[in-house]
Symmetry: C2
Subunit: 404 residues, 2 copies
């Protein structure tokens, strides 16, 4: 098959899949009474719990706005209005009290705080939601919220984490955990889009985040480790040997976007070779296919019970990463890896019967949890992947057309 | 085969298995330099991480003392001395600072705090260790430590949980979580053994714990639910529908021991029928054998990724529960259930090559994690089960001999 034909076929199937996935969330997840979204959805979309996880609320608001803004067929009034209702739910209920800086991790259907985590991730998706809401509504109060929370997060990460509530303990050294600089870089990317002021304001945070991510490349460039010391040294024990190929690959395409923005060839090369290809080759299960969730760099058995399970999100990140990598390098090998992951996800994760994807397969690829959404899986990784892949494929096909 | 023959065979195999299991820990887990125990042990006993989990330290101290005290072939000076070294490690390092009430969850090899959990479980096993240490050394300072921490725990549970560090949130009602009264009942059982003063002191706590456990029997006696409201009402959502058959069965034998102590026939009946047999029948995987880790009482898919995995500890608790139940009731059905679990564990969990048991099997019974110990698995459930089963089988055989 010609390359053009392959890209067209993928684009067609991805386009359809994005519609089917969004239809699932639009049909089943909207809370008409209180605003916001149900994310605990069974295989067929039935709500099996009405708790609202704040980071998933933020992610879904972001996703709706982003599709409204970027994909013409989703530029629909109902999608915008639902996103606004979700955003207002967040404004009213994400913070447990008016004077609280932290967001709750999970709230009741009507917005009363149930649990607070001592991390920054709920707050990060709050920023994503608010910034994207501002871009579609042009209401400054959303932008102000995004900006304020962003500054709060960088303060917690870089100046003083006291308010997060974790006690400082003498046996616990400061850890550079991949998730934190990754998330910050993603926020900088979000806030800076077509915005010179924000680009200038957060340039240094972006540079710092890139450096902190690059620290995770260890062992003479032969492994990406999830946790290193604050000065970029390998840590002892399981913590130090921990590998999360999905995170590494996601960081890879975050880095690659940053490299494109900065026209930094060297960073682009590192992103593709070390953060995308290397973790993929190490993380792919040669026997059963799919990416392991966690591995130990020295080959010990991880202590996480789900280490060998195949989760949806490392695979969506790999699809984005390979396609973006191919766009930038033209390297055919990346297209082959894309195809490998593509075939795996469409045969194993996608649910032809009810729409959306299963999220949790066992090592052999069998569905282990039949839920479509839960405390960790909402309307985010899959539609983000499908929309980004559709966009990249369109661009690649346009370039071919222009060349022809 | 005659019943006598069956019991004898089981006793013989269990006796051998206990020796093999203890040999594994004695050979691989002792930290000669700092005292205490390594519990992160690979399949062959190699230490893959030297962090020390406080609850596992407490459990191993308890186990060594208990075997020293109750099983003549383990009444060895080296076992006692190692237990004392472990106890001294706890006294020196379990609490992050001299004025700290809470214990750490995990410390470095040399005892510096790495993480503190907002729960009571580390503290509970601290009590178990100190009380059992007192029983073998007769040193009052151990008893004093046990007593002091016990009073602290009951204060946190029944009067004021503020010091545990969990914020009170308006969306989070007070939950009666099975683990808490179970653990308290276990502590009362421990502290009261042959001790009239302690029996009197903690009688009311014991009665309260029994009542709180019985609240978990819901739906007209047709299900044991892991979490109920503080007044014993079913809770909404996943939290309320959550079932943990291993916990229910373990609570069952705790209740049964309490019923025996109090000669309470009605409590014994409830323990056996509702907390042991019922959860076993609901929790046993009819297709592949083994007890599920978690289930949803309405048949929804649980959100815990490991819900269908087979873990070692629910099976050890079932073995104890069925044998103790048979001892009390003489019901042959319980012996059949015992045999079913017995055959499963000896064929699936036990490692004939290196000793000890694997802890984590997938749904189909294949080893999913090859580790023998980790943050949650140490020297406790398996030797406790084997020693108790050996003791019960000896008693049953003695009774047969006396009858003959």
């Amino acid at each position: 098959m010609s390359e053009r034909k392959r890209l067209e076929q993928w684009k067609g199937q991805i386009n359809q899949e994005l519609d089917r996935v969004m239809e699932f969330w639009i049909q089943h997840s909207h809370d008409q009474d209180y605003g916001g979204f149900f994310t605990c959805l069974s295989q067929d979309g039935a709500v099996y719990d009405d708790l609202k996880y704040i980071w998933l609320q933020g992610r879904q608001v972001w996703m709706y706005c982003r599709l409204y803004r970027k994909v013409p067929r989703f530029h629909r009034e109902d999608i915008l209005n639902t996103a606004i209702t979700g955003g207002e739910f967040l404004l009213a209920h994400a913070r447990p009290s008016a004077d609280s800086l932290k967001c709750a991790f999970v709230v009741t259907r009507d917005g009363r705080a149930v649990k607070i985590q001592r991390t920054i991730f709920g707050e990060c998706f709050y920023v994503m939601a608010m910034d994207e809401l501002w871009r579609v509504t042009h209401e400054d109060r959303y932008k102000k919220e995004a900006r304020q929370m962003m500054d709060q997060i960088t303060h917690w990460v870089r100046v003083d984490p006291t308010e997060l509530g974790r006690p400082e303990l003498c046996g616990a050294g400061k850890v550079n955990s991949m998730a934190v600089p990754m998330m910050l870089l993603n926020l900088v990317d979000q806030l800076s889009e077509d915005d010179e002021e924000m680009t200038t304001t957060y340039k240094e945070v972006g540079t710092w985040s890139v450096q902190m991510i690059l620290q995770h490349l260890q062992r003479d460039g032969k492994a990406v480790l999830e946790n290193v010391s604050e000065h970029g040294q390998e840590l002892p024990g399981c913590l130090g040997r921990h590998q999360n190929s999905g995170h590494a690959i996601e960081a890879g395409w975050f880095l690659l976007r940053q490299a494109i923005t900065r026209t930094d060839q060297s960073l682009a090369k590192t992103a593709v070779e070390k953060f995308i290809i290397l973790p993929f080759l190490l993380g792919w299960d040669q026997d059963h296919g799919g990416l392991y969730s966690f591995q130990d760099v020295d080959g010990h058995c991880p202590t996480q019970l789900e280490w060998s399970m195949k989760l949806w999100w490392p695979h969506t990140e790999a699809l984005i990463a390979f396609l973006l990598g191919y766009q930038e390098t033209g390297d055919q090998k990346l297209l082959e890896y894309f195809e490998k992951v593509y075939n795996y996800v469409f045969s194993q994760f996608s649910d032809p019967e009810n729409g959306e994807w299963f999220g949790y397969l066992n090592r052999e690829g069998k569905v282990a949890l039949s839920i479509k959404g839960g405390p960790f899986k909402g309307c985010f990784h899959i539609p983000r992947c499908l929309y980004m892949c559709e966009e990249i494929l369109s661009k690649l096909l346009d370039i071919m057309d222009n060349k022809a």
